[in-house]
Symmetry: C2
C-alpha cells in the first residue's frame, strides 16, 4: 500500500501570519500545549478536544499547514509532533511566549473559558 | 462639542485569541511596530500603510478592540498609542516576541513581502 504523505512547509517557508493565525484559536493552542508538554508522535485520538472529529481534523490541518505541527501516518492513524525546533529557529521565543500566555489566560479568573 | 469616546477592553478583559488574531496581519503588525519604536499619540495619518484609508481605519479598529492599541480623539484626528504595559502585564513577553518575529520575518530572504 502506498504511504500517504501529508504536505508541510519547509522551515524557511514558515510564515508569521499563518503561525499567529493558527495559534489564535484556543483548541489549536490546546493541541500545541499538549504536544509541548508531552512526547512526540501523539495520535489525534489522544487529544481530548471539545469539538467534533471533523472540526478536530480541521484544526490539526491548520496547524500542519502553518508549520506548527508535523503529521505523518502510521497505519491508519495520524501521529502529531510539535515543530518546536523549526519554530524556534525561525521565530525565536514566539512559541514559548504564546504557550505561556495561554497558561496565564487559562489561569486568569477574569477570563471565561468556553 | 461632546468628546467622542472610543471603546476599549480593560486590561483584565484582554483575550489572547483577539490579540494573536489582531497581530496575525502584516499591516497591523506594522502599526504596532511603528508605535513600539516611536512615541505615543501618533495620528493615523502618520502611518504609511499600503492600503486604502477605509481599510486602514478597519485595521486600527481591530487593534483597538483587541486591546493592542489605545485610540482617542484630539479634534478630528485620532491618536494612537501601544498598550505595551497592559499587554506585558497580561501576557508577559508576548508582544516583544511577536514584534521580534516580525523583524526576523521582514529580514528573511526566503520571505516574499506583499
Amino acid at each position: 500500500m502506498p504511504v500517504r504523505i501529508l504536505a508541510h512547509p519547509d522551515r524557511g517557508e514558515l510564515q508569521l501570519d499563518a503561525v499567529l493565525s493558527a495559534l489564535s484559536d484556543p483548541v489549536r493552542r490546546r493541541i500545541a500545549s499538549q504536544l509541548a508538554d508531552g512526547l512526540d508522535d501523539q495520535a489525534c485520538i489522544a487529544f481530548q478536544l471539545p469539538v467534533s472529529k471533523s472540526t478536530s481534523t480541521h484544526h490539526f490541518r491548520i496547524l500542519r499547514e502553518a508549520g506548527v505541527i508535523e503529521q505523518h501516518y502510521r497505519g491508519t492513524a495520524i501521529l502529531n509532533s510539535l515543530r518546536a525546533t523549526d519554530l524556534k529557529a525561525r521565530f525565536p521565543g514566539l512559541l514559548q511566549a504564546i504557550l505561556q500566555a495561554a497558561r496565564n489566560d487559562a489561569a486568569s479568573p477574569t477570563t471565561e473559558r468556553p
